[in-house]
């Protein structure tokens, strides 16, 4: 059993006296009494001693109470300040008028008649006056009254009694080495070689260390970086772009009909100001109205350029993909983007007005729908989802469309995003002739599944303790 020098010294003294107080022992050991309590505590953890904690409460007069002891309580002072009667107005000039008058009335010393205070003749000592001089014997209700009036305070005093146990006796009987132990090594001791003669104090490894919190990357960002790594490893170019987009790129260029409910104020954050349409916008108009030069019929109706000039907070990063394609219409193109997108939704545990989306495209001569499924499967497998399946989906800008799902033990098949091949109505206006595989995957959904979260807000309004506790590597993340 490892004891510090102080514990050993206390134990040896306890052998002599059996039971002691910290104050007595403090004198003997030349240590403050509270240190002795601490040593006793350490011994008691090892069952070598017991520390008994006795709490007693004592009542003592406050400064105010002490003053009244000689001057008399305010009601007595007030009583003595006038003759048989006094007008209320005169009495109110006395410094204790406020408190004194109430008490005089309550005790029956005075009565009030038509604005005058008249002594009743009976002003014997009140029980407060009696007990303020003899606190210890005061009954409980009087004590309470004194405390309430601020004349006395109750103080807790704690007294400790330290006693040796049988185990302590046995250990001491076996002999205790009292040589000095060294805590912190000094530079001098190291360089002079003095360390050779020192006994270095041992530490208790069962005692948990103080927690140290390193700086670190947010668990959600680490997951985003993991996804970025996968895509960079697969040879994708990363995109980054403006949060603010024209409705043209966010909706029209993606063949979203102009009367689609998702475009309305109710679902999308609209901003003041208009954005000019890019060169070539007429071809997008033709796609909507008639299908342009493709085999498509288009949506029919009139396409309104003013509607396309509206400005919105991007509802998906697909607006960046299509702009990237319009600028790079020749194959091959492999690009991705993880960025924040905005939907006009009220905040609740599973809905937020802003969240991350992972967006990607592959454009090349011979890429096919099979390849899209192949990519999605590879991505989710690399993210640690073993079972992936594909279900038909619908998005206005892709055809065929697919919704990948992963299998989660307690949840069954969980949909994690959407994908498809960009419709010709989307690619043709920009002179793109190859198929474009495209996908938009929910990132925060994956984070919730991986980190076992039930409330999305934890990602954005993080409890610092949660971030501190989430392991950087291994564990669930």
């Amino acid at each position: 059993m490892q004891l510090t020098l102080n514990e050993k010294r206390l134990l040896l003294e306890l052998v002599k006296c059996g039971t002691t107080t910290p104050e007595e022992m403090g004198v003997i050991l030349d240590r403050p009494a509270d240190s002795v309590v601490q040593y006793g505590g350490l011994l008691s953890q090892k069952d070598l001693a017991t520390v008994e904690r006795n709490v007693t409460t004592t009542l003592s007069l406050t400064e105010e109470g002490t003053r009244y002891l000689s001057e008399g309580l305010p009601e007595r002072q007030l009583y003595n300040s006038f003759g048989d009667s006094s007008s209320m107005a005169d009495l109110n000039k006395h410094p204790h008028a406020k408190i004194g008058l109430g008490w005089m009335k309550r005790l029956g010393w005075v009565k009030i008649e038509s604005g005058n205070v008249i002594k009743t003749g009976d002003a014997s000592l009140s029980s407060l006056e009696i007990h303020v001089k003899n606190l210890d014997n005061a009954p409980a209700d009087i004590k309470k009254e004194l405390i309430k009036r601020g004349l006395a305070t109750e103080e807790e005093s704690v007294r400790y009694v330290i006693s040796i146990t049988e185990l302590g006796q046995k250990l001491a009987a076996a002999g205790i080495d009292l040589s000095e132990e060294t805590g912190t090594l000094t530079a001098d001791q190291i360089s002079s070689g003095a360390w050779k003669d020192l006994t270095l104090r041992r530490y208790d490894i069962n005692k948990h260390p103080r927690p140290v919190w390193p700086g670190k990357i947010h668990p959600y960002q680490r997951m985003i970086d993991e996804m970025r790594r996968i895509l960079l490893d697969m040879g994708f170019t990363e995109l980054h772009g403006s949060i603010v987009q024209g409705a043209f790129w966010n909706f029209d260029a993606l063949f979203q009909p102009q009367d689609h409910p998702a475009r309305e104020m109710q679902d999308t954050f609209h901003l003041a100001g208009k954005q000019d349409l890019p060169e070539g916008w007429e071809k997008v108009r033709d796609m909507h109205e008639t299908g342009g030069n493709t085999s498509s019929t288009g949506w029919g109706g009139k396409w309104d350029p003013e509607k396309a000039k509206a400005t919105v907070l991007r509802t998906h990063t697909t607006s960046l993909s299509i702009q990237h394609l319009a600028a790079h219409p020749k194959p091959p193109v492999k690009a991705f983007c993880i960025g924040r997108v905005y939907r006009r939704e009220a905040i609740d545990p599973t809905h937020l007005p802003e969240f991350e989306q992972l967006e990607g495209i592959v454009m090349d001569d011979n890429v096919t729908f099979r390849n899209l499924l192949g990519f999605l499967k590879e991505f989710y497998t690399r993210m640690g989802f073993e079972s992936v399946r594909f279900r038909p989906g619908y998005f206005p800008y892709t055809e065929p469309s697919v919704e990948p799902e992963v299998y989660i033990e307690e949840l069954g098949w969980v949909e994690l995003g959407g994908a498809g091949i960009f419709r010709e109505e989307v690619t043709a206006p920009w002179g793109i002739t190859c198929p474009v595989l495209a996908w938009g995957l929910g990132v925060s959904r994956v984070a919730m599944l991986r980190m076992g979260l039930t409330d999305l807000r934890q990602l954005y309004q993080s409890d610092i303790d949660w971030v501190r506790q989430m392991p950087t590597h291994g564990g669930r993340c």
Binding site: I217, S242, V244, T294, S296
Partner: protein, 537 residues
């Protein structure tokens, strides 16, 4: 997306198979199962497939998908003498009307519920909340043709559905529940659209409400459909979906003449599709026969018409087929996505990180090395957090959203430090010291930029810590700077400095002003640093 309730008994009867098989295959024809209940399954279908918004439509698709009945359904339309006249006054109000007669229906309760379901779904998806298209279904035997669709004054009255007294159109728009919901579509028009029979009985006040007179019940045998709207194509789509649904339910369709035009036209559209284009898009190697067989499973009419071509007949209810690729998607669904042998694309390209992300990674390394914990606050914020509590003047260039959803999110952040202080407020019960940072997008004058902010709170957080941390940060970023006394009111005067690079202010650091700490309800001293990354990279 609308949710369609499919009652098992009716569904099983129409499909000719058991519910287990149906439920298993539902997701694979393109639906999301919302919930599986005792008597029914509730599913969401995609807005493109309005033909699946009824039990009848789902059964039709399911029978094909399971191979129980393939190829196109034929929808015969017999002539009738029923006609409508359309008032030219409606041209600017609600010009288009489609109609048809369905005879010999025996609608049980489930079929009526299914009919109401498809009507509701069409109102939302095709009709855009009845503005573009609205549908009425009537008991034909209660009224006398010919009918007229005309512009009526708001003083015209009739007994609307679910009421037992006559009301004027004006009253209906104010008092009837449907009137309150849909009056906005027509109330500012000079005349109201109304459908009447030869005796002046009102069938419908589209897009708001039908008359009580023509209410459809289980006893109704002959139905009259009216579909009105502002877009002819959408009106016809809704009409065709309704007619085909009712024919599948057992009815016989008769045509109606509208200003001399005979409708509905339920004949399929024919197209030739190339087998090679389909294989090229899907990555398959199907033959013309195989492709035709799969399309028949998807309820197209389809025959091989050459080694590389299939001649198809597209059912009239498939309004979603706009382009050849829409047909190829059905080939993929019919074949089963699972059978397509997913394979990685072979396109080679070298991966390339975006420079902004590269900077962000380096910044994260530096901040973590300095002992800072990353946080990822929202980008939407409000004037109070962004400016008022910071004791700063509101930035006129901040991007404010036009219709915020709450007072908490009225603008896109222009700074990051306020959000860090707000997070410290939320974490004030957590162990100190707290040192946090964030790097990310801000928006100023419609442009997206990147910033970095760090904040630290504990009893010793002060200017010296801010200065030392800024100094380390700038050293690690490899950028030399000079401090200049700052007058930023978010910091204590005399305990803050602007970060100057090449004579330009790129950031600020210092000890947070106690007024700001009070504003954020932070009890301990705090220091903060904010850096405009686009000004230094």
């Amino acid at each position: 997306m609308p949710v369609v309730s499919l009652p098992y008994k009716y569904l099983e009867r129409l499909c000719g198979t058991d519910r287990k098989t149906i439920i298993e295959h539902l997701p694979m024809i393109g639906s999301d199962i919302e919930r599986i209940l005792e008597e029914q399954v509730d599913v969401e279908f995609f807005p493109s497939r309005v033909d699946l918004y009824s039990t009848e439509g789902v059964a039709r698709a399911m029978r094909g998908f399971l191979g129980l009945e393939t190829g196109e359904e034929i929808y015969p339309v017999s002539p009738s003498s029923i006609s409508f006249t359309v008032d030219p006054n409606l041209k600017e109000v609600r010009p288009y009307i489609g109609s048809a007669v369905i005879r010999d229906v025996h609608l049980d309760n489930e079929a009526i519920i299914s009919l109401m379901g498809v009507q509701e779904a069409l109102h939302w998806v095709v009709g855009r909340g009845r503005a573009k298209v609205a549908i009425g279904v009537h008991d034909l035997d209660k009224v006398t043709p010919p009918f007229r669709y005309y512009g009526a004054p708001v003083s015209r009255s009739f007994v609307p559905l679910d009421f037992d007294r006559e009301m004027t159109l004006a009253e209906i728009m104010e008092e009837h529940p449907k009137g309150r919901d849909y009056a906005h579509i027509v109330k500012d028009k000079p005349v109201m659209p109304l459908i009447e029979d030869a005796n002046g009985n009102v069938l419908s006040f589209p897009p708001i409400i039908n008359g009580e007179l023509t209410r459809v019940t289980e006893a109704s045998r002959n139905l009259l459909l009216d579909v009105t709207g502002t877009d002819e194509r959408a009106v016809m789509t809704a009409l065709k979906v309704l007619c085909t649904t009712l024919i599948t339910a057992g009815g016989k369709c008769e045509s109606v003449s509208i200003n001399g035009v005979i409708m509905p036209d339920l004949s399929p559209e024919t197209r030739e599709v190339k087998v090679s284009s389909c294989n090229k898009l899907l990555g398959t190697s199907l033959s013309a026969e195989e492709m035709a067989e799969i399309l028949r499973k998807m309820r197209f009419g389809a025959e091989k018409s050459g080694d590389n071509s299939v001649s198809i007949r597209i059912p009239c209810y498939r309004a979603d087929i706009m382009h050849e690729w829409d047909v190829y998607e059905d080939v993929a669904i019919g074949a089963g996505f699972g059978s397509l042998n997913a394979a990685l694309p072979t396109t080679f390209a070298a991966g390339c990180e975006h420079p902004i992300m590269k900077h962000a990674s380096a910044i994260r390394d530096i901040c973590c090395g300095l002992g800072y914990l990353e946080v990822m606050p929202f980008t939407l914020s409000n004037e109070d957090v962004m400016y008022t509590r910071m004791q700063r003047n509101p930035d006129p260039n901040a991007l404010r959203v036009l219709h915020p959803i709450s007072e908490e999110q009225t603008l896109v952040r222009t700074d990051l430090l306020p959000l860090l202080l707000d997070l410290l407020r939320m974490n004030k019960r957590r162990e100190l010291p707290q040192r946090i940072f964030h790097t990310g997008d801000v928006v100023l004058e419609m442009q997206t930029y990147q910033k970095l902010a760090l904040a630290s709170t504990h009893p010793g957080a002060d200017f010296s810590e801010a200065y030392a941390t800024t100094d380390a940060l700038m050293r690690e970023l490899g950028i030399s700077y000079t401090p200049r006394e700052s007058s930023d009111p978010a910091f204590i005067h005399g305990r803050s400095a602007d970060i100057m690079v090449d004579g330009k202010k790129v950031g600020v650091f210092g000890e947070i002003h106690p007024g700001v700490l009070n504003g954020f309800d932070i009890d301990q001293p705090a220091m903060g640093i904010e850096l405009d990354l686009h000004l230094i990279f």
